[in-house]
Amino acid sequence: MVYLTRKVEFAASHRYHNPALSAEENRRVFGKCNNPHGHGHNYTLEVTIAGEPDPITGMVLDLKELKDILEREIMQRMDHRFLNYEVAELKAQIPTCENVARVIWNLLEAKIPQGRLHRVRLYESADLFADCYSKTVGGAS
């Protein structure tokens, strides 16, 4: 098995706010991230595809194809956007790194034409990231 990783960067704003909590609770739980005007990050997304290299092309997946998928599915949706208001998949969720990574996983998983999606790693900053993997549960392990 070979793992191929492609990296893209996008810039977006977000705000952490749960309408089910009081204003005071929101400030306590989310701190500065609760600022009503939002704030932004330069996100770095690493997408890892697992597969066997094709015997003819030597590729797990054509990087051009992966680049186009990431452009269409992620960059056009999220780059220079306010995640809470402009990304439909995030509307009912707090756009934390964990939730944005999960949304990205769900957007990409079925779109990978060769190999399979192995990992989504989303950096919100150099010191904070979330990883998503598919894990087999149940049965013999």
Partner: protein, 140 residues
């Protein structure tokens, strides 16, 4: 069997510390041969980067596996405060008998962080320099 999405939260911390690699079980010559420059009796230092990964359910109300304020406070108290600007072999009890290689440092930090109450520690990865990194994910 079914597939389930597994999500981890990763966070990086930094500290600077000195160490000396020297094993009491080896002769001076052997120490010098095995550890080379790292056996310098006066020690030497690194800027360490510690990357920790935690898993757990993403809380629906907060969107978080763990609140970073809680995690940062825990890691600061358990690791950064006792290690930053210290001499690991002189000032950290665990390294009086154990050689403070970064392999052993990974294990020690894992042991110090595995009791974090809000999420499950998956792994500790340490960059000793930008060229060397080590990872420990607990006893397998």
């Amino acid at each position: 069997m079914s597939k389930e999405l597994h999500i981890e939260l990763g966070r990086r911390y930094r500290f600077a510390a000195s160490h000396r690699l020297h094993s009491a079980q080896l002769s001076d010559d052997e120490n010098c041969r095995i550890y080379g420059k790292c056996n310098n009796p006066y020690g030497h230092g690194h800027n360490y980067t510690v990357e920790v990964r935690f898993s757990g359910p993403v809380d629906r109300a907060t969107g978080m596996i763990a609140n970073l304020t809680d995690l940062d406070a825990f890691v600061n108290e358990r690791v950064i405060e006792p290690f930053d600007h210290r001499s690991l072999h002189d000032e950290v009890l665990a390294f009086r008998e154990v050689v403070p290689t970064t392999e052993n440092l990974c294990v020690e930090i894992y042991e110090r962080l595995k009791s974090f109450p809000n999420a499950r520690l998956e792994a500790v990865r340490i960059e000793e320099t930008s060229n060397n990194s080590f990872e420990y994910a607990g006893k397998s």
